[in-house]
Symmetry: C2
Subunit: 715 residues, 2 copies
């Protein structure tokens, strides 16, 4: 009885297992070694597969050692730090990190951040605000002269300089175009006057503002001669470099406690008629000259393509963080015994051997692998789109066809990255949460890292494009692609399957094997295509028959747009996982040993995904009710089969105990020993009395009766 | 374009809204007042409906004032407290709380805890460990003499006494029957020797052990004359009452940082041959006499019925906490503007007016109302079962038929409460999470309470029966009920619909209205019945055709059991919500004004629930694909319609700003002002430099070049 669970049920049973047969404290590492020995593929080859080759693994391992060996990155007491302690530590780490980054190639620096995101999301972001957002803005939107000027000020290496990014305001986050801070050009002095018109326009959530920043990239409305040209970016000094004192007109403060990432000094900033030289407006695209002539960019839609890199990185982050927690949960489940599946057993069952526990964890392992494939594919797409865009816009009078092609690429990148960012960051939040629950009470301990990571992680679902809004946007793009296809126009690779809408509409699995790759690819194209076409039909009906405006119609079908983007993105992950397995350059026997296990993961991911949304497949008539039942059976069997390789498949993530930073997830499986020792190291048992015993506890526990009024003298 | 979202998209648009038309800082309270004025029902009547009548509302309001007025319960700086600060504060609050509880009736004390759970989950639990777990164990499992003895020691009022509950061990949580701590009877001294055999058997997670407890209810294996009688409960003194020093043989420590509820001093305890008098074993059921004769109870399965109260309370807690966060999110959404749904608008759209935002929040409002109905029904069921059980077991030779009836009642209570506990605690975790996301970045601020509450809340999904294990157990009970029905035996009220399995199997909605109460009740019975019957068929096949043992077969169909319990429980919530609306004693015009709005909520909840699991309804053939689409349309329309009453429906929860404790959710809707002020109150802007500027930042920012080796002298 696998779930003899409740206090009552158990006490009723008063079941006596033969406890002498094993010992909860000494047995686990033995079990773990045996599990590991049963790995039927070359773990190292799997690591190379995940990393993208042996050379890449070598880089990752070098970077991991950089952190692991540095005492400033020691994480043994990380979970007990107060907000002020972690903020200071974060700055100490930035001082160690910056020289590493400066020496990295651009590619290696992306790898370094992705590794840093596993062990310290605060340092990741606090540094990333400067290099990614502030410096990225200068690089993306500044002229070459401006770029060189700010490099000269130290912006390239955080020296006498720390940049932050004043975009969001108290009253405006997602809708950047409606920001209320103003930048009014003063013709006489040739300056911009930056001003916060009212408290609701206070810059808010500004990472680095409270403690670190000397300068900011401020988003403000460009107003010249009374005309509002919309939001542009202005570099505004906040503090004097010499002594970190505030500059005139700058008010700022600390926004204090957050759900997570307390190492980042998020703050608020108000500008009170702060004057900056005209030349501090970033002028790669829009320009203002000395006479107050404003030139608006011809190719405005190409301006900010570089900023999409953040989203692309967040898909990679999703994989990095998910792999840590699925590793912890699977290792723990492999050695944790609880209950006996069969009353005749002398030992309790290991929880990873329970059907239901497998179904909770193993599909999430598959999901984690799938995210890696999607992330790499997105990264390639990103690099090629940006390259094509840069090539097409090199000249001031670009060739039209090249430009149109580049724009199509970027559009597709926007919508694909939006869907992947939203659903991968959500998936990782779910994975942290579900893996925590799968570790029972010990998942709730601060020292096993789940709580901290969840709190640090979930902001990824909100910032750089709120997931819901991104998804709705991706859904709109899908409908637009469908309309384009119907009008005979070309559509991007990611939605090429819409060209087969008609045949997909009537497809059924028939008597083909449910778990064949071709069926699974097709199944997801069928439901994605159906949903997108149905939403497009509805959109067309609303705009033509019912006379709604395009915007009104898009608003009306929000739910359908959301669903379309969700299913398209799942289809995308499944397809890219299968593609990755097919196209990887297998070279050695070790490489060949991983194929079968990867195929199992990909099939499991696709089938389990069907199980999450059976209604779509029945609605499409692609699967019959009996086939839906059969999908469930396949999932159960695949979970059982992958379970036997689960330790190897998590070992392949190649995380040392430093990055795991959770004693119940350590490599050697000695979970209780490490956990017990960690808790006692963090909380030395010196005194049985709390420090408030005399002041608070004793007067309460040893209290007398409440004082009563004695009325006898009043008689 | 409701989702002109990304940085890029927006900058591309450079859309200029007429910002002078409103002001993010001053407009919100005006909007909120207008929303409130549009309430079309009597809010006070709705509060009475929720509270269960005007008298009950009066009690709740008195209790709320007790907390709100007490300076020790001031929560203004609650989110910034360190672990050690919150632990001390929690003890201070316990000293204020205990006299209140002692003066409460039992019913009022349940209400008091349920209110306390909204504003301070740590104090709730740290006190509840004593009164609910420790004291509950003595009351439930001690003899009358034992009960009186411990009352005499101060256990009834936490005086010279603080009890904790040493049940779980490092290696054993859910499987209480396999705990490894031993209680060996010493014939010579007539004592029990309590011992922790190895580190894995260390008592772990023990709330109150680290700082507070003087005594514990220790779960240990009763061993008499070499025979193991299974786990029983022993009262073991831990600390000397006079000076709180540890008693001989007791080792204990602090388990330190947790994901949440840091106000509770959870600890670990090891017993090294600790001797206690034989009479300290709780002997209401199992007994050991001076000669070492052990009497095991005849009605063991009735022993621990009282402990189920914890689960029943957790369903009520789910409602209490959910109502706080759905209120915050809806109030914020009613005044927050972002983007313009129509480009011609002069003002941005309030986010509660977006179709998709309504679909995110309004069904969760309906869910919250549904949980209240289910919670109250469960509470009634609990009280009547316990009463019946007590009546049936009053005599030492109880009447068989009365006993059998009582046992059936308790069984049904176990399984219903298991499902409700699991799915309501999960629902509330989801509600906190989704409402946080719906508030965008401001949801991530520590001062709006989401993070703290999520961290404090989610342990409810793990303790007192892990939700997954409870669900599997509830699923097993459903299959057993189905088997009973097939064998012609009586089954409980909650599963009475299984008697119509055959007709439900072939039912279809036909041309009846999809949103009629009778259809919605039937629809959920159809899918629940189908799933339970299918699982039962599979179980029977496995045990008869395939020859599996009962345990093996139950293990094999874990997934089906989980699904059965999930769907049955959803059906149960929907049914109890409709019942509550039908059976409430509407008395006044105000009372009558709420009916229509309650009906909308119930229908929305049922229809939205169908939308979450469309596959089941298509699989059953109850709905056609076209009808599934129509369900979606109904949900959208109901969301729009309930949206107009959403402020009234959340006001009816009757929470003051003290309990809301989130400036963006304050009653007056003045979200930005309260939020801005709260952040600045908590983080006064005194100095622009962090305290680590001189030590850490300045040396880094103003660093020179890295020292280079000058090799010239070596030439």
């Amino acid at each position: 009885m696998s779930d003899r669970l409740s206090l009552m049920d158990n006490l009723i049973a008063s079941k006596t297992l033969n406890q002498s047969a094993y010992n909860t404290f000494t047995e686990p590492p033995v079990l773990m070694a045996a599990e590991r020995a049963a790995t039927a593929f070359d773990t190292r080859s799997m690591t190379h597969f995940l990393d993208g080759g042996a050379e890449s693994t070598a880089v990752f391992e070098k970077i991991m050692l950089d952190f692991e060996r540095d005492p400033v990155f020691n994480n043994d007491n990380y979970y007990d730090l107060s907000k002020s302690e972690v903020r200071k530590l974060t700055m100490q780490r930035i001082a160690r990190l910056v020289p590493m980054i400066i020496n990295d190639s651009e590619e290696d620096s992306v790898k370094r951040f992705s590794i840093l995101g596993i062990c310290d999301m605060s340092t990741y972001t606090r540094t990333g605000v400067h290099f990614g957002l502030f410096f990225g803005a200068i690089r993306g939107s500044g002229t070459t002269e401006q770029f060189n000027y700010w490099i000269g000020q130290g912006a390239g290496e955080i020296k006498n300089f720390f940049g932050c990014f004043c975009m969001t305001e108290l009253g405006h986050g997602s809708n950047v175009a409606a920001l209320e801070t103003t930048a009014v050009w003063d013709e006489q002095t040739d300056e911009f006057i930056i001003n916060t018109p009212h408290v609701g326009a206070t810059k808010w959530w500004i990472g680095g503002a409270a403690h670190s920043a000397t300068h900011t990239a401020c988003f403000a409305r460009l107003i010249v001669k009374g005309k509002d040209y919309g939001v542009k970016i202005f570099i505004v000094p906040l503090r004097n470099v010499a002594d970190h004192s505030l500059r005139a007109g700058i008010s700022l403060g600390d926004i204090g406690k957050k759900m997570g990432r307390d190492g980042i000094d998020n703050g608020w900033v108000q500008f009170t008629n702060v004057r900056i030289p005209r030349q501090f407006m970033l002028m790669k695209y829009a320009q203002v000259d000395r006479a107050g002539n404003v030139t608006m960019p011809v190719f405005a839609q190409l301006t900010y393509g570089a900023l999409i890199g953040g989203r692309v990185n967040m898909v990679a982050d999703s994989f990095q963080v998910a792999k840590r927690f699925i590793t912890i949960a699977i290792r723990y489940a492999a050695v944790r015994r609880q209950f006996a599946a069969d009353p005749k057993q002398t030992k309790e069952t290991r929880i990873l051997d329970y059907t239901y526990h497998q179904r909770r964890l193993i599909p999430l392992l598959a999901y984690t692998y799938a995210m890696k494939a999607a992330s790499d594919e997105l990264n390639i797409m990103y690099r090629s789109s940006i390259k094509r865009l840069e090539d097409a816009t090199k000249s001031s009078n670009p060739e039209k066809k090249a430009l149109a092609g580049a724009i199509e690429d970027v559009k597709e990148l926007f919508s694909t990255s939006a869907g992947c960012k939203a659903f991968c960051t959500w998936a990782t939040a779910d994975i942290i949460d579900e893996t925590r629950q799968s570790c029972g009470g010990h998942g709730y301990s601060g020292y096993n890292g789940f709580g901290q990571a969840y709190n640090d992680w979930v902001v990824q679902c909100t910032w750089e494009g709120d997931n819901n809004i991104l998804t709705l946007s991706a859904g709109r793009a899908l409908i637009q692609s469908c309309l384009s296809h119907r009008r005979g126009k070309p559509i991007g690779d990611a939605v090429k399957y819409l060209q087969n809408s008609d045949s997909l509409k009537t497809a059924t699995v028939g008597d083909r094997a449910l778990d064949s790759e071709s069926v699974l690819r097709e199944a997801w194209q069928v439901v994605a295509s159906n949903i997108i076409n149905a939403a497009t039909d509805k959109f067309t009906e609303l705009t033509t028959v019912q006379g709604l405006s395009l915007d009104q119609a898009m608003e009306e079908i929000s739910q359908q747009r959301f669903l379309a983007a969700k299913i398209h993105t799942r289809q995308h992950l499944i397809r890219s996982f299968f593609d990755r397995i097919k196209n990887y350059p297998y070279k050695t026997d070790g490489d060949n040993s991983i194929r079968e296990h990867l195929a199992n993961l990909a099939k499991l991911f696709a089938l389990w995904s069907i199980e999450q949304d059976t209604g779509l497949f029945l609605h499409a008539g692609y699967l019959t009710p009996a086939q839906i039942d059969s999908v469930g059976t396949h999932v159960t069997h695949l979970c059982k089969s992958v379970r036997d390789q689960a330790i190897g498949l998590t070992d392949a993530f190649n995380l040392s105990d430093y990055f795991i930073n959770a004693p119940i997830g350590n490599y050697d499986g000695n979970v209780y020993k490490h956990y017990y020792e960690k808790v006692n190291r963090a909380n030395p048992a010196i005194d049985s009395k709390p420090e408030y015993y005399e002041s608070t506890m004793k007067p309460f526990l040893q209290r007398g009766e409440e004082e009563c009024v004695d009325l006898s003298e009043l008689e």
